[in-house]
């Protein structure tokens, strides 16, 4: 074919290194399922399998990183998968996200009994799917990854089954998510129609070599791909499912759902746009800047009026999607900022939802803000961590949140989106308002004792998993705020091709 001369080789070169992380995660998932069926072991056994699987995946990703640094990016499976630092970075983050997410949800998994193992399996599958999205250089494979991951998340959203809110969340998430997937496929189809290729290399080379007089089909395809991913990362105006899904899903697992989706989907979006459609950078950058602006404004403003912390965090995550898109408007220049942002935001959001899970109980349905009143006296650890995450998410310096925003704004400014930066920094001030409100409730107001004060006090036992998640996420958020170079250097090496 016409693109054969490019980097894509036509032979099926199988590289177990390229697909290794996904294989390991799948094996881990199968192992958990099988052992669970035949042995009915305690959760401790599962814990060991989880640790072993994630550690092995991490090691393989390390080899990928090494190979990419030494040999440069290499393609395999007929140019479907790429071993590069970009994919390996996303993989690292996803392994971390899965580990933290499982630790935060461990109490819930334990209580779910037999279905606890299913929860682990679904987390593994979701992580594998998102990794596939991040490493794949073919739109069809990106879609496959997207679907594997999305299906797992739909089920995770409703894993508690008996709660009505969770069912509603799962159904809404499923219906709108499937719709988004359909939009994504349609976009891929139009991109194929316009360029004759589903490979990002193919699209890239075709657009670089040919000036399209009527680029309509390609542009619409590109736009639909963006819309499809925008749904997954809950960027406004494609965000409507997020507050309901985050509110209804079991608290223990929401953090993972938010974090993993952002990491995988943004990685894919960056790869598709900044490499595949790099010729049309002006078009998609403008589109992304509009999406970013709408997301930031909608997310920030609607978060202000929320009375449920999960809905508030959902709207805040919409705004954060906007900030990440802000970084991405700079294309290749913004990749570092984007990768840094998704990683540190993933850590923050898992930490914040871990606190929510500890307060609401892992399967708890809703989390009204009023239940946080006077938390600092009931549990200094939970209140302190949540306050710290609020400060980090609002972008106060000496937290990773500030560095991330700073990186994103710098990238966008250098790409000429000064208006977006000014809009973003000014809207951030609105963000301070609702993030601070949580702190006000926890630290500055006395608890209203509707029930016996002793009962509220006794109810707050923090599961060991959540305790560890909080310690790690707070430490990471603080350290990366003071010494951002630790991760920035890594993110700086993780570029596309």
């Amino acid at each position: 074919m016409w693109w054969e001369g490019s980097a894509v080789s036509s032979s099926v070169n199988i590289s177990y290194l390229a697909i290794g992380p996904e294989i390991l995660l799948t094996l881990g998932a199968v192992l958990v399922l099988m052992i669970d069926v035949f042995r009915k072991p305690s959760m401790k056994v599962h814990a060991w399998i989880v640790v072993a699987t994630l550690a092995a995946t991490g090691v393989v990703l390390g080899f990928q990183w090494h190979s990419a640094v030494v040999d440069g990016a290499t393609l395999s499976f007929s140019g479907m998968l790429s071993i590069d630092t970009f994919g390996a970075y996303a993989g690292f983050v996803l392994v971390g996200v899965a580990a933290l997410g499982l630790a935060a949800a461990w109490g819930m998994m334990d209580r779910l009994g037999r279905r606890g193992a299913e929860g682990i399996v679904l987390v593994f599958m979701a992580a594998a799917g998102f990794m596939l999205m991040a490493t794949s250089v073919n739109l069809v494979l990106v879609f496959v990854g997207l679907e594997i991951a999305s299906m797992s998340l739909y089920v995770l959203a409703g894993i508690t089954r008996q709660t009505l809110l969770a069912d509603e969340a799962a159904l809404k998430y499923f219906l709108l998510g499937s719709f988004a997937s359909a939009v994504f496929v349609y976009g891929a189809a139009l991109a194929f129609a316009g360029t004759g290729s589903l490979s990002m290399y193919g699209i890239h080379d075709f657009l670089a070599a040919n000036v399209l007089l009527k680029p309509g089909v390609v542009l619409i395809g590109m736009a639909l791909l963006i819309v499809g991913v925008a749904f997954k990362v809950s960027a406004a105006p494609f965000h409507v499912w997020a507050p309901d899904a985050y509110q209804g899903s079991p608290a223990g697992i929401v953090g993972f759902m938010v974090a993993a989706a952002k990491v995988g989907a943004f990685a894919a979006l960056a790869r598709i746009l900044a490499f595949g459609f790099s010729t049309y950078a002006q078009h998609w950058a403008t589109g992304l800047s509009l999406l970013a602006a709408i997301s930031i404004v909608v997310g920030m403003l609607l978060a202000v009026v929320q009375t449920d912390i999960r809905r508030m965090l959902a709207y805040s995550s919409i705004a954060h999607a906007g900030f990440i898109l802000t970084a991405l408007t700079a294309g290749n220049v913004g990749i570092t900022a984007m990768l840094f942002y998704v990683a540190v935001y993933a850590v923050q959001v898992i930490g914040a939802f871990a606190v929510v899970a500890a307060i609401a109980g892992p399967e708890g349905g809703s989390s009204p803000l009023s239940s946080y009143t006077g938390l600092s006296e009931r549990s200094p650890l939970l209140a302190g961590s949540l306050a710290f995450f609020m400060i980090a998410m609002s972008g106060v310096p000496l937290t990773s949140g500030f560095v991330a925003k700073f990186a994103a704004f710098t990238a966008a400014w250098s790409a000429g989106f000064g208006w977006l930066v000014i809009l973003a920094v000014v809207t951030s001030v609105v963000g301070f308002f609702f993030y601070l409100r949580v702190i006000v409730l926890m630290y500055m107001q006395e608890p209203v004792h509707a029930e016996a004060p002793g009962a509220a006090r006794a109810a707050l036992t923090i599961p060991a998993g959540i305790r560890w998640v909080l310690i790690i996420t707070v430490a990471v958020t603080l350290v990366l705020g003071v010494v951002p170079g630790l991760l920035l250097r890594l993110a700086g090496q993780a570029f596309l091709f």
């Binding site: 400060i391 106060v396 310096p397 000496l398 500030f402 700073f406 704004f409 710098t410 400014w413 250098s414 000064g418 930066v421 000014i422 920094v425 000014v426 951030s428 001030v429 301070f432 308002f433 601070l436 409100r437 702190i439 006000v440 630290y443 500055m444 107001q445 951002p484 170079g485 920035l488 700086g492």
Partner: protein, 515 residues
């Protein structure tokens, strides 16, 4: 240099905060003494720094420069010059004093001490940073401890005040952040691709006049909110009135100075052309602040609010002095930043002490306190005189220099501003009259205890400082003058502006503080 004194000065408060945080929660009696003891270390270092700081040198001293993250061009670049030296000393002195005045804090003493120490670390960072990224980090991070101090330990409307304080200042710094980013990228554009946040290297940037105006505005709004200048001052009375005494002391004493310091260091330093264009705007706002703040202070029924509004007036003087662009004006501005921290800090401490005894700050609740609390009345009168600007006390030195300096270039503004001195006498002496003179009208006031040893010590330290600067301003002016001259030299070298001849220091040596 082996001993990195400035880094140590920034890190000691943070380390102290960690130490206090790690004290066992059961030992409640330890938190405050340990906190005060630890905050004495920066005092010793700051005084040592003041002594070894070379007079007659314009540039930055004790400079340290380490790369923080090279690809972004950010570094841990710190140094001290005559403008920041006094601010560092002021910060160091006020922290143990405000902690020592906080024995009445009943809940969460540990957190209270920790937040105060974090605040101190942040303030040191603000005044010592020569890297704009670093500066912004500290400038912004200070909001958090102050927010908690007001919000947790304040009085009834503390939450409203804390949030308002946070949002106002955060809004200002948001715009400044955009300005900082754009300047770093401008540097990258002009110097081969690598951005830099280094203040000293930014001095060589070429800016289009329009760009410079916008950047000036972005920085000036951030600092004007912090100062606060009219019309951005509305957060201040709320924050001051609701904050606990220690919070008010630090807020008025040091936090507001971040604004004037920023205007002087960054607006004048980085945007001299735009500065010249903005002089009328800034001067008008400063004079409005002076008169308006004083006028509103007169009618306040609440003692703490009165002191708060007097700050608006006094800070107006400082801004006027800075934008007068004369040697005297700048020197007066810098020395007045220190003076205001000492006198207003003392006034807030005094208000706090009477509040602890009577649980009210309403002026009408008092009367005749002179007879019941003579020592307290003495300290109050002394501080009030310093604040009004009575010769031999520190306020006189600053305000005299400011008015003299601004009379040269901003004649009519100076004339109007001078009324602020008279109004200051009105509101402070009238307040004194109502609170302290006459018969004791309220039975509650008859049994008030006079100051105890701790309170006397705190106030005596500040009173000694007022007297020291009042009698021997040379000790401060000698260190300040070379740096403010350097600022003027820069403005003159970059623009067409010429400081009028009586506005140069050389022509008026011996005018004040000379030998």
């Amino acid at each position: 240099m082996d001993f990195q004194i400035l880094t140590v000065l920034i890190l000691i408060p943070f380390a102290s905060a960690v130490i206090v945080a790690l004290l066992p929660s059961r030992r409640k009696e330890l938190f405050l003494p340990v906190g005060i003891a630890l905050s004495m270390l920066p005092v010793v270092l700051a005084i040592y720094l003041f002594v070894v700081f070379k007079s007659g040198v314009a540039g930055f001293q004790f400079v340290e420069d380490y790369t923080w993250y090279a690809p972004w061009g950010i570094s841990w670049h710190i140094g001290v010059d005559g403008i920041s030296l006094l601010m560092v000393v002021l910060t160091a002195i006020l922290v143990p004093i405000s902690l020592a005045a906080s024995t009445s804090i009943s809940k969460n003493m540990k957190q209270f001490v920790v937040f105060n120490l974090l605040l101190e670390g942040g303030l040191m960072g603000v005044f010592l940073s020569l890297d704009m990224f670093m500066f912004f980090v500290f400038f912004e991070v200070i909001l958090v401890p102050m927010y908690f101090i007001i919000g947790i330990w304040g009085s009834e409307r503390r939450i409203y005040a804390a949030v308002k304080f946070f949002l106002f200042t955060a809004f200002g710094s948001a715009l400044m952040l955009a300005g900082i980013i754009s300047m770093a990228l401008m540097y990258a554009h002009q110097n081969g691709g690598v951005p830099s946040f280094d203040y000293l290297s930014w001095l060589s940037l070429n800016m289009a006049p329009n760009t410079e105006m916008w950047l000036f505005a972005a920085f000036a709004i951030a600092f004007a909110i912090k100062v606060p200048m009219f019309p951005f001052h509305t957060w201040l009375p709320d924050a001051h009135v609701e904050a606990p005494t220690a919070g008010s002391v630090m807020l008025a004493g040091v936090l507001l100075k971040m604004g004037t310091y920023g205007l002087l260091r960054f607006n004048l330093g980085l945007f001299p052309n735009a500065t010249l264009k903005f002089v009328p705007v800034m001067a008008v706002l400063a004079v409005i602040g002076i008169v308006y703040g004083a006028a509103v202070a007169i009618v306040q029924p609440n003692l703490k609010k009165l002191v708060a509004y007097s700050s608006v007036s006094h800070l107006g003087f400082i801004v006027l002095g800075i934008f007068a662009l004369t040697s005297q004006g700048l020197e007066g501005g810098v020395v007045q930043m220190f003076n205001h921290g000492v006198t207003t800090g003392a006034l807030f401490l005094l208000v706090g002490m009477i509040y602890e005894r009577r649980h009210t700050k309403e002026i009408s609740e008092f009367g005749g306190l002179q007879k019941v609390m003579p020592i307290f009345a003495g300290f109050f009168l002394f501080t009030a005189f310093a604040s009004i600007g009575l010769p031999t006390l520190n306020g006189f030195v600053g305000e005299f220099l400011i008015l003299m300096g601004s009379f040269i270039t901003l004649k009519w503004y100076a004339i109007v501003a001078a009324s602020g001195v008279i109004l200051a006498a009105v509101y402070l002496l009238w307040a004194y009259e109502r609170v302290f003179t006459g018969p004791v009208t309220k039975p509650e006031n008859e049994k008030l205890l006079d100051l105890d040893g701790r309170e006397k010590t705190i106030l005596a330290v500040l009173a000694a400082l007022m007297l020291l600067i009042g009698l021997y301003p040379k000790i401060a002016l000698d260190k300040i003058a070379p740096s403010t001259e350097a600022v003027l030299d820069r403005v003159q070298s970059v623009t067409t502006y010429q400081v009028p001849s009586p506005g140069r220091l050389a022509d008026v040596v011996g005018g004040i503080g000379g030998e």
